[in-house]
Protein backbone atom coordinates (compact mmCIF):
# COMPACT_ATOMS: atom_id res chain seq x y z
CA UNK A 1 0.00 0.00 0.00
CA UNK A 2 1.37 3.40 -0.95
CA UNK A 3 -0.34 5.25 1.89
CA UNK A 4 -1.18 4.36 5.49
CA UNK A 5 -4.70 5.65 4.88
CA UNK A 6 -5.22 2.77 2.44
CA UNK A 7 -4.39 0.22 5.16
CA UNK A 8 -6.91 1.97 7.43
CA UNK A 9 -9.56 1.84 4.70
CA UNK A 10 -8.85 -1.85 4.12
CA UNK A 11 -9.04 -2.86 7.80
CA UNK A 12 -12.21 -0.73 8.14
CA UNK A 13 -13.90 -3.06 5.65
CA UNK A 14 -12.98 -6.03 7.88
CA UNK A 15 -14.84 -4.34 10.74
CA UNK A 16 -17.79 -3.62 8.50
CA UNK A 17 -17.93 -7.23 7.28
CA UNK A 18 -17.85 -8.35 10.92
CA UNK A 19 -21.24 -6.68 11.33
CA UNK A 20 -20.10 -3.96 13.73
CA UNK A 21 -22.63 -1.36 14.99
CA UNK A 22 -19.85 1.03 15.85
CA UNK A 23 -16.36 1.38 14.41
CA UNK A 24 -13.87 3.66 16.14
CA UNK A 25 -10.78 4.71 14.24
CA UNK A 26 -8.00 6.63 15.90
CA UNK A 27 -4.88 8.12 14.38
CA UNK A 28 -2.50 9.72 16.83
CA UNK A 29 0.80 11.40 16.04
CA UNK A 30 3.18 12.19 18.88
CA UNK A 31 6.33 13.88 17.65
CA UNK A 32 7.92 13.85 21.12
CA UNK A 33 7.66 10.07 21.49
CA UNK A 34 8.12 9.85 17.71
CA UNK A 35 5.14 7.53 17.27
CA UNK A 36 2.21 7.28 14.91
CA UNK A 37 -0.49 5.04 16.35
CA UNK A 38 -3.43 3.72 14.38
CA UNK A 39 -6.29 1.91 16.12
CA UNK A 40 -9.33 0.35 14.51
CA UNK A 41 -11.83 -0.86 17.07
CA UNK A 42 -15.15 -2.51 16.34
CA UNK A 43 -17.93 -4.30 18.20
CA UNK A 44 -18.47 -6.83 15.43
CA UNK A 45 -18.59 -10.59 15.70
CA UNK A 46 -14.94 -11.00 16.68
CA UNK A 47 -12.65 -13.94 15.92
CA UNK A 48 -12.13 -17.32 17.54
CA UNK A 49 -8.76 -17.93 19.17
CA UNK A 50 -7.76 -20.33 16.40
CA UNK A 51 -8.64 -17.84 13.66
CA UNK A 52 -6.92 -15.02 15.54
CA UNK A 53 -3.72 -17.05 15.92
CA UNK A 54 -3.55 -17.53 12.17
CA UNK A 55 -4.93 -14.22 11.00
CA UNK A 56 -1.56 -12.75 10.04
CA UNK A 57 -0.90 -15.73 7.80
CA UNK A 58 -1.71 -14.65 4.23
CA UNK A 59 -3.43 -17.97 3.65
CA UNK A 60 -6.08 -17.15 6.22
CA UNK A 61 -9.09 -15.24 4.96
CA UNK A 62 -12.87 -15.05 5.12
CA UNK A 63 -13.14 -14.09 1.49
CA UNK A 64 -14.70 -16.69 -0.78
CA UNK A 65 -13.22 -15.55 -4.08
CA UNK A 66 -9.57 -16.30 -3.26
CA UNK A 67 -7.64 -18.37 -0.77
CA UNK A 68 -5.38 -15.53 0.27
CA UNK A 69 -6.10 -12.52 2.47
CA UNK A 70 -3.43 -9.85 2.62
CA UNK A 71 -5.06 -6.94 4.46
CA UNK A 72 -3.84 -7.61 8.00
CA UNK A 73 -0.47 -9.18 7.02
CA UNK A 74 0.41 -6.13 4.86
CA UNK A 75 -0.55 -3.73 7.63
CA UNK A 76 1.42 -5.71 10.22
CA UNK A 77 4.54 -5.87 8.01
CA UNK A 78 4.33 -2.14 7.32
CA UNK A 79 4.34 -1.34 11.05
CA UNK A 80 7.13 -3.79 11.86
CA UNK A 81 9.28 -2.45 9.02
CA UNK A 82 9.09 0.96 10.73
CA UNK A 83 10.46 -0.11 14.08
CA UNK A 84 6.87 -0.38 15.28
CA UNK A 85 4.49 -2.95 16.67
CA UNK A 86 1.23 -4.61 15.71
CA UNK A 87 -1.43 -6.06 17.95
CA UNK A 88 -4.86 -7.59 17.51
CA UNK A 89 -7.21 -8.23 20.39
CA UNK A 90 -10.41 -10.06 19.56
CA UNK A 91 -13.18 -11.89 21.36
CA UNK A 92 -16.01 -13.82 19.74
CA UNK A 93 -19.23 -11.87 19.98
CA UNK A 94 -17.51 -8.80 21.45
CA UNK A 95 -15.40 -7.32 18.68
CA UNK A 96 -11.88 -6.72 17.48
CA UNK A 97 -9.28 -4.02 18.05
CA UNK A 98 -6.31 -3.65 15.75
CA UNK A 99 -3.43 -1.43 16.88
CA UNK A 100 -0.46 -0.52 14.74
CA UNK A 101 2.37 1.65 16.00
CA UNK A 102 4.93 3.17 13.65
CA UNK A 103 8.10 5.11 14.38
CA UNK A 104 6.82 8.39 12.98
CA UNK A 105 10.12 9.58 11.54
CA UNK A 106 11.14 6.19 10.14
CA UNK A 107 12.42 6.45 6.59
CA UNK A 108 10.22 3.55 5.47
CA UNK A 109 7.03 4.92 6.97
CA UNK A 110 4.59 5.45 4.10
CA UNK A 111 2.91 8.85 3.98
CA UNK A 112 -0.45 9.03 5.69
CA UNK A 113 -2.16 9.97 2.44
CA UNK A 114 -5.53 11.56 1.96
CA UNK A 115 -7.46 10.84 5.17
CA UNK A 116 -10.36 13.11 4.21
CA UNK A 117 -10.97 11.13 1.03
CA UNK A 118 -10.54 7.89 2.98
CA UNK A 119 -13.12 8.85 5.62
CA UNK A 120 -15.52 9.94 2.86
CA UNK A 121 -15.16 6.53 1.14
CA UNK A 122 -15.83 4.82 4.46
CA UNK A 123 -18.99 6.82 5.09
CA UNK A 124 -20.33 5.81 1.67
CA UNK A 125 -20.14 2.15 2.75
CA UNK A 126 -21.38 2.52 6.32
CA UNK A 127 -25.06 1.65 6.04
CA UNK A 128 -26.39 1.96 9.58
CA UNK A 129 -23.01 1.48 11.22
CA UNK A 130 -21.67 4.39 13.25
CA UNK A 131 -18.15 5.62 12.56
CA UNK A 132 -16.22 7.65 15.07
CA UNK A 133 -13.00 8.97 13.57
CA UNK A 134 -10.50 10.79 15.74
CA UNK A 135 -7.23 12.22 14.53
CA UNK A 136 -4.82 13.84 16.95
CA UNK A 137 -1.51 15.57 16.66
CA UNK A 138 0.54 16.25 19.81
CA UNK A 139 -2.57 16.35 21.99
CA UNK A 140 -4.79 18.46 19.69
CA UNK A 141 -7.61 16.39 18.31
CA UNK A 142 -10.47 16.38 15.84
CA UNK A 143 -13.42 13.95 15.81
CA UNK A 144 -16.06 13.08 13.28
CA UNK A 145 -18.97 11.10 14.70
CA UNK A 146 -21.39 10.01 11.98
CA UNK A 147 -24.20 9.77 14.54
CA UNK A 148 -23.96 13.54 15.16
CA UNK A 149 -24.13 14.10 11.42
CA UNK A 150 -27.10 11.77 10.97
CA UNK A 151 -28.93 13.42 13.90
CA UNK A 152 -28.75 16.78 12.15
CA UNK A 153 -29.77 15.28 8.80
CA UNK A 154 -32.83 13.62 10.31
CA UNK A 155 -34.48 10.45 9.05
CA UNK A 156 -35.26 11.52 5.52
CA UNK A 157 -31.76 12.46 4.37
CA UNK A 158 -29.19 9.67 4.29
CA UNK A 159 -25.61 10.30 5.32
CA UNK A 160 -24.73 8.41 2.13
CA UNK A 161 -26.17 11.20 -0.06
CA UNK A 162 -23.34 12.41 -2.27
CA UNK A 163 -23.86 16.02 -1.16
CA UNK A 164 -23.32 14.92 2.43
CA UNK A 165 -20.32 12.75 1.54
CA UNK A 166 -18.57 15.64 -0.19
CA UNK A 167 -19.32 17.90 2.77
CA UNK A 168 -17.84 15.27 5.11
CA UNK A 169 -14.68 15.18 3.03
CA UNK A 170 -14.25 18.96 3.37
CA UNK A 171 -15.19 18.84 7.05
CA UNK A 172 -12.54 16.22 7.82
CA UNK A 173 -9.96 18.10 5.74
CA UNK A 174 -10.62 21.34 7.64
CA UNK A 175 -10.55 19.44 10.95
CA UNK A 176 -7.17 17.91 10.15
CA UNK A 177 -5.78 21.31 9.12
CA UNK A 178 -7.07 22.87 12.36
CA UNK A 179 -5.13 20.42 14.55
CA UNK A 180 -1.96 20.77 12.50
CA UNK A 181 -1.97 24.59 12.72
CA UNK A 182 -1.75 24.74 16.52
Amino acid sequence: MKELSLHILDIFYNSLSAGADTIKIGLDTDTVKDTLTITIEDNGKGMSETFLNNVLNPFTTTRTTRKVGLGLPLFSEAAKACNGSFDIVSQLGKGTTVTAVFQNSHIDRAPLGDMAETVASMVLSLGHTRLIYTQSFNGESFTLDTREVQDILGEEVSIQSLEVISWIKEYVQSGIESIMEV
Binding site: R66, G71, S121
Partner: protein
Protein backbone atom coordinates in the same frame (compact mmCIF):
# COMPACT_ATOMS: atom_id res chain seq x y z
CA UNK B 1 -11.04 27.86 9.00
CA UNK B 2 -12.67 24.77 10.51
CA UNK B 3 -16.05 23.90 9.08
CA UNK B 4 -19.04 23.59 11.36
CA UNK B 5 -21.67 20.88 11.72
CA UNK B 6 -24.27 23.64 11.47
CA UNK B 7 -23.65 23.76 7.69
CA UNK B 8 -25.37 20.40 7.45
CA UNK B 9 -28.77 21.99 7.99
CA UNK B 10 -28.54 23.73 4.61
CA UNK B 11 -27.39 20.50 2.92
CA UNK B 12 -30.32 18.66 4.51
CA UNK B 13 -32.83 21.10 3.01
CA UNK B 14 -31.17 21.03 -0.40
CA UNK B 15 -31.01 17.23 -0.44
CA UNK B 16 -34.65 16.92 0.59
CA UNK B 17 -35.65 18.98 -2.44
CA UNK B 18 -33.61 16.70 -4.69
CA UNK B 19 -35.08 13.55 -3.15
CA UNK B 20 -38.49 14.85 -4.17
CA UNK B 21 -37.25 15.23 -7.75
CA UNK B 22 -35.79 11.76 -7.76
CA UNK B 23 -38.77 9.60 -6.82
CA UNK B 24 -39.89 6.99 -9.32
CA UNK B 25 -36.78 7.05 -11.48
CA UNK B 26 -34.68 3.93 -11.73
CA UNK B 27 -31.18 4.52 -12.99
CA UNK B 28 -27.66 3.16 -13.02
CA UNK B 29 -26.04 1.53 -10.03
CA UNK B 30 -22.26 1.92 -9.91
CA UNK B 31 -20.29 -0.52 -7.76
CA UNK B 32 -16.57 -0.17 -7.03
CA UNK B 33 -14.55 -3.15 -5.72
CA UNK B 34 -12.91 -2.09 -2.46
CA UNK B 35 -11.18 -5.17 -1.03
CA UNK B 36 -7.42 -5.24 -0.32
CA UNK B 37 -6.71 -5.88 -4.02
CA UNK B 38 -8.91 -3.01 -5.21
CA UNK B 39 -7.62 -0.55 -2.63
CA UNK B 40 -3.97 -1.40 -3.34
CA UNK B 41 -4.57 -0.97 -7.08
CA UNK B 42 -6.06 2.50 -6.62
CA UNK B 43 -9.82 2.05 -6.19
CA UNK B 44 -10.25 4.86 -3.69
CA UNK B 45 -9.44 7.78 -6.03
CA UNK B 46 -11.67 6.11 -8.64
CA UNK B 47 -14.58 5.94 -6.19
CA UNK B 48 -13.98 9.56 -5.18
CA UNK B 49 -13.88 10.71 -8.80
CA UNK B 50 -17.15 8.95 -9.62
CA UNK B 51 -18.86 10.40 -6.53
CA UNK B 52 -17.66 13.91 -7.37
CA UNK B 53 -18.78 13.74 -10.98
CA UNK B 54 -22.18 12.18 -10.25
CA UNK B 55 -22.80 14.98 -7.77
CA UNK B 56 -21.43 17.71 -10.04
CA UNK B 57 -23.43 16.53 -13.08
CA UNK B 58 -26.51 16.11 -10.88
CA UNK B 59 -27.09 12.54 -12.05
CA UNK B 60 -29.78 12.05 -9.42
CA UNK B 61 -30.82 8.61 -10.70
CA UNK B 62 -27.34 7.13 -10.23
CA UNK B 63 -26.39 5.35 -7.01
CA UNK B 64 -22.75 4.75 -6.07
CA UNK B 65 -21.68 1.96 -3.74
CA UNK B 66 -18.79 -0.40 -2.96
CA UNK B 67 -18.32 -4.14 -2.77
CA UNK B 68 -15.63 -6.58 -1.64
CA UNK B 69 -13.33 -8.69 -3.80
CA UNK B 70 -14.90 -9.43 -7.18
CA UNK B 71 -12.40 -12.26 -7.76
CA UNK B 72 -10.30 -10.77 -10.55
CA UNK B 73 -7.65 -9.13 -8.40
CA UNK B 74 -5.17 -8.55 -11.19
CA UNK B 75 -7.70 -6.51 -13.16
CA UNK B 76 -8.46 -4.12 -10.28
CA UNK B 77 -9.64 -1.40 -9.87
CA UNK B 78 -12.93 -2.83 -11.13
CA UNK B 79 -16.08 -0.78 -11.59
CA UNK B 80 -19.41 -2.41 -12.36
CA UNK B 81 -22.27 -0.45 -13.89
CA UNK B 82 -25.71 -2.03 -13.61
CA UNK B 83 -28.51 -0.49 -15.67
CA UNK B 84 -32.23 -0.32 -14.88
CA UNK B 85 -32.81 -3.72 -16.54
CA UNK B 86 -30.10 -5.39 -14.42
CA UNK B 87 -27.60 -5.60 -17.32
CA UNK B 88 -24.08 -5.43 -15.91
CA UNK B 89 -21.01 -3.90 -17.56
CA UNK B 90 -17.66 -4.64 -15.92
CA UNK B 91 -14.89 -2.07 -16.37
CA UNK B 92 -11.37 -3.18 -15.45
CA UNK B 93 -8.09 -1.43 -14.60
CA UNK B 94 -9.98 1.80 -14.07
CA UNK B 95 -8.21 5.00 -13.07
CA UNK B 96 -9.71 8.46 -12.38
CA UNK B 97 -9.33 9.50 -16.05
CA UNK B 98 -11.14 6.39 -17.29
CA UNK B 99 -13.77 6.91 -14.58
CA UNK B 100 -14.41 10.37 -15.99
CA UNK B 101 -15.14 8.91 -19.42
CA UNK B 102 -17.35 6.19 -17.96
CA UNK B 103 -19.46 8.80 -16.17
CA UNK B 104 -19.63 11.03 -19.25
CA UNK B 105 -20.38 8.33 -21.85
CA UNK B 106 -22.08 5.54 -19.93
CA UNK B 107 -23.91 7.23 -17.05
CA UNK B 108 -24.82 10.44 -18.90
CA UNK B 109 -25.21 9.29 -22.51
CA UNK B 110 -25.88 5.56 -21.97
CA UNK B 111 -23.08 4.35 -24.25
CA UNK B 112 -20.83 1.57 -22.92
CA UNK B 113 -17.13 2.50 -23.12
CA UNK B 114 -16.19 -0.78 -24.80
CA UNK B 115 -12.40 -0.48 -24.66
CA UNK B 116 -12.44 -0.37 -20.83
CA UNK B 117 -14.61 -3.45 -20.41
CA UNK B 118 -13.48 -6.83 -19.20
CA UNK B 119 -12.81 -8.56 -22.51
CA UNK B 120 -10.22 -6.05 -23.65
CA UNK B 121 -7.31 -5.17 -21.38
CA UNK B 122 -4.54 -2.90 -22.62
CA UNK B 123 -5.72 -3.55 -26.15
CA UNK B 124 -5.52 -7.36 -25.83
CA UNK B 125 -8.50 -9.67 -25.91
CA UNK B 126 -8.71 -11.73 -22.73
CA UNK B 127 -10.17 -15.23 -22.85
CA UNK B 128 -12.56 -15.28 -19.87
CA UNK B 129 -11.60 -18.94 -19.25
CA UNK B 130 -8.04 -17.92 -18.46
CA UNK B 131 -9.37 -15.92 -15.54
CA UNK B 132 -10.90 -18.96 -13.83
CA UNK B 133 -8.19 -20.18 -11.48
Amino acid sequence: MKKSLAELEAIRKKTLEQINLRTGREGFRVVVGMATCGIAAGARPVLTKIMELVEKEKLTDVTVSQTGCIGLCRLEPIVEVVDDKGEKTTYVKVNPEKAERIVEEHLKNKHVVKEYTMTVVDGTLIDPKVEEN
